[in-house]
Symmetry: D2
Subunit: 356 residues, 4 copies
């Protein structure tokens, strides 16, 4: 299993299962002297934490990281930074049956096959969305450092099911309990989520992310481009099934003359009139905002009866998933996307070779 | 610059510029004894090679790889496999101006910034689509080996501009000069490409890929999942701006009860009734076909006049790109997507730990 | 800082400082289903643990690992395995001065320069020999698994100062409190250590390691050979200044006709009459025992007054190191060398490609 | 097989077999704009090239690299740098028997086992010392760049068989055909080599290397220290069986009070009175010269009859190695050690994080 992100400079190791003693992360390769504002980090983590709204699982976790090492006087000391979160509120009883009756759309079946029955199936084990918490610890710390460099990473809900917020993404929605730009659309989204839950069902949606202030020249052609790197990290988030940068899929219906972003001079600097490229040309940042959209499938764990297979009797059976699950993970996924983007970007910047 | 793909088992190094002495690749980590059918490989490379159709650049290259090492009696000998292609048909004169007048939508500007003016701008240098040829050498060899294991990788054109081939992707279209399932749609696509060229413009499109025969249990959660790995490699192809797996973006508008693929028993084996997951659950293959779609933006190099900036005078100017360019790279991109997918899949399979 | 070992299959992340909340390790990439015998592991860790003999620091630590994740019913579940050890018995007061007065032979000065004063200097921070405990957790687990495969890794003290144990290394000395083959020599070694301590001084020595049962064909030419891999891991142990394989340095004084190991047939299998190659030819194991010797310098932290520099006043001063230190770390280093060798070997075996 | 060095910033891929079309290397990750002086590089390569002296194999190769890509106007353009050397003077006939009768001390047997008989045995294939030529291309280019930064890497012959040059290593011996400091000792060394050859035998020896001008703070604790990194690269050179830094093995016989290098002030800078640490404390450079010694075993290929095993009949036989071989590779190994050290050091420097 490779739960270690090997970047150009950073090594991020994420560990833990939904119901293990603890989950956590080790971030190796950080420069020394970087301040870590724990309160700010907690505020960030709370945006992801469960049990805070109607659309979220009732499983309540404090998600308060304990820093084991890597800090001195709340600054990085150059040694690997490790933080853990204890798993307190676990109900293993809920999951005992899933080893035999895999949930459709979930990793129960593939994990059973891959790990020959030795996997920890409780709460989804290492495949649980809970593992995005350590990702947010790493990302939250890097977001703080990026902001010190005037690089901001903002995500928002772009759509839930077929309800879309088409208002421009001008300012951060980090403060909002339901992170959309158009609150009226947000209300309808929440109603749609509530309706799904009422039917024991779930819905998916889109998260949009925009990175401002990234200088030109970050990223590499071929395998370590900004797109490759962000995609590699974003697909580490459970339920993500697609990603597009800039105009993305819609660019396939444009002519080159429409899609190409004309260069222009703004306040003496080179910019582009449009930003269909999403701030990336040849895998390298061009100084314009980096924009991408991520597709989240509906939560697979639903109360509605579904057909599955009994892996012992090899007979088809009907399953109704109990336990505590989000009818829509999109709202809580917003800070996770920010975290993934921050890790991707920070690592590329750090990897830039200065010795020339 | 990182043009070295560091997989779980393979290291693929891709080198060369559009107008350098040669381009090529080194594939390190292959088991010994793998047969390489050069004729079959050439047939594969020819599907990508330029100058073979109306919709392709008139630049004609033989694209005949010379194997420098790694083979003995046409089988891998365990040592790194290196193959190169000489650049014969180069016209550097065409590109001299692009260092000062970057092409909109192209990497001219970002390369200039990143490499401080030292980059090789001729023909797009290392950013040229020509670098997909070495990718196809590696992928073509691995495709042969995957087929020996009854794993097939097939791609097709799904759309060009707004013309879509909605017929089911049942059988390979590798033999076709214009790789679509529905030839009638293919004809209209080619007309649309021709229309764009006539106006000195270009169009984009979608490539769909399906991997059949992949056993269950390949891929890892978090950073090395099938999605992460394929995305990382596919975004190495110039002009790719988006990727989605299975139902992808459309899954965001489904309910969990629709999107979840119910498990069933078929001929005594566990399968799913639908395949919205695109054969991947929790980053791990579930035994169903792996399916994904890739979005290609329209070729940035067009004859139509466009606004750009003169990097010397820092004044806005109008540019009309000369040189030889495809009005649509989608047809030639089809085998490249197959190559990228083959590298991704083969590397994950090879990385599987057998010592248990 | 790179405290993450990126092997061919394993990723080992080691974290912690001598006086941080905890130290620990994450081992990622283990197959699922591997049993972990905690008692056996504790026995192994106790061989390294401090405060157990006259020649060891009086700092007493239980070194009892807490497993946070990665195990289910005491078997690996496929997810990353993380274990930590709390730092209980810390006396930071001892170290406050070392930031200004770096200890000769220690990393105080280089850490101060590299981390710009942000490093955690208490107890040597991340540079402390204490960080070999997590290395032993990883190695101890892998040693158990290697033994199940009939691969044994045994180390012993070969010399302390100028006292050498020249008896053949026939059987394990793991049970012995002072791990030498010739106990009479061992007694004189301990006397020499005691004599050094009495003078407020320290001594070094040699550790010999032998790996039996390794099949032929493990390791790679060039950069991932058995020698490269073992050396890379052994030099992660503080105080190691040299390593040699087989006849090592003495082979430089032999003729080829003496040094070459003649092939022969023993019980129908290919073996060699001698083993000057230390079981490695061209970086690859040849089926004979892998043997190497590691040179440990004398512990730098000594009570004897030494000349150093005051980094504030930039004046030369005299320093007498207080705190608790081993007069000779060689005895406690023996299991650490076994751990490093086990990680190196296990990773190479796991990296072997079976898909051929 | 892993013939790709994955450093902190550089990826060096080395390819080729002794008798393949060509051998070569790709260096990926170099900053753009680095000048490459081809004449200077050729002078460096000639120091390694065969057929230039009595103590070298009569196989004469021009070893003139052809640069395929990565350069523009003789400066790095940011794209991977690939250079190859054609294999011209090959005599495969010499080697046909070695597949059945492996040479003692050589990789013939382990390669046969590892690659299941598919390896290229001609001339030792990928295991040939000839593969150090591409290593020298990479190292030679980096040595030029290091010198521009006032960092010099010098190696010399310290001993051949039992003849040692104990004179201090004050100045470079790069110009000398036989690179020793004390030419009188050098004469005796050459006589000893000649004597060995006359008997159809071979001898080994020691190479000493000193790196001057390396700033303090380069290298990492644990796995990426200066020692780990240099060792990993030096063990990629065939015939290397040991390495030691600073006082190395002799430090094991010193007291801490002798071995510790006292800090002092010289011209306002912090230095040490002695340099037993070889310029490395805690894996990090301390500003003093980095010194290490490498042990080369005697060349395994000798004319003298040796016992081996016939892998077909599984019977013991006598073998007398024909073909062209150095009676002592130490003189030609001197530039190779410089190259390996340069790659190790340059990569660590490039990996230093400047964004703080």
């Amino acid at each position: 299993m490779s739960s270690t992100f090997i970047g150009r400079s950073l090594r991020l190791s994420i560990f833990g299962q939904s119901h293990s003693e603890a989950i956590g992360m080790t971030l190796d390769g950080l420069p020394s002297g970087i301040p870590v504002d724990r309160e700010l980090l907690q505020t960030f983590l709370n945006r992801r934490a469960p049990g805070r709204a109607a659309w979220s699982t009732p499983r309540r976790e404090e998600d308060r990281p304990e820093f084991l090492c890597g800090l001195k006087d709340d600054r990085t000391c150059g040694a690997p930074l490790t933080a853990i979160i204890r798993n307190t509120n676990t109900r293993s009883a809920d999951y005992s049956q899933l080893k035999i009756l895999p949930r459709p759309g979930h990793a129960d079946y593939t994990a059973e096959q891959k790990y020959h029955g030795y996997q920890d199936y409780n709460g989804g084990g290492h495949f649980s969305g809970r593992l995005t918490a350590p990702l947010c610890i790493a990302g939250g710390i890097l977001l703080q450092e990026l902001e010190r460099r005037s690089i901001t990473v903002d995500a928002r809900i772009l759509s839930v099911a077929d309800i879309r917020d088409d208002s421009p993404f001008l300012c951060s929605v980090k403060e909002k309990p339901f992170p959309v730009s158009d609150d009226e659309a947000g209300t309808r989204m929440q109603q749609r989520i509530e309706a799904a839950r009422a039917k024991g069902d779930s819905v998916g949606g889109l998260v949009e992310c925009i990175i401002r202030g990234l200088p030109c020249g970050i990223g590499e052609p071929l395998f370590d481009g900004v797109e490759n790197q962000i995609a590699r990290l974003v697909f580490a988030i459970p339920a993500v099934k697609g990603i597009e940068f800039g105009a993305g899929f819609s660019s396939t219906e444009m002519h080159g003359s429409e899609n190409n972003d004309a260069f222009c001079i703004r306040n003496g600097k080179v910019e582009t009139l449009t930003n269909h490229a999403g701030g990336i040309l040849g895998g390298i940042s061009n100084g314009m905002p980096v924009t991408f959209r991520t597709a989240f499938k509906p939560t697979p764990s639903i109360a509605k009866p579904q057909q599955t297979v009994n892996l012992q009797t090899m007979e088809e059976e009907t399953l109704s998933v109990t336990g505590r699950h989000d009818p829509c993970i999109v709202p809580r996924a917003v800070p996770v996307v920010e975290a993934a983007a921050a890790i991707a970007i920070y690592d590329l910047i750090l990897g830039e070779q200065r010795w020339n």
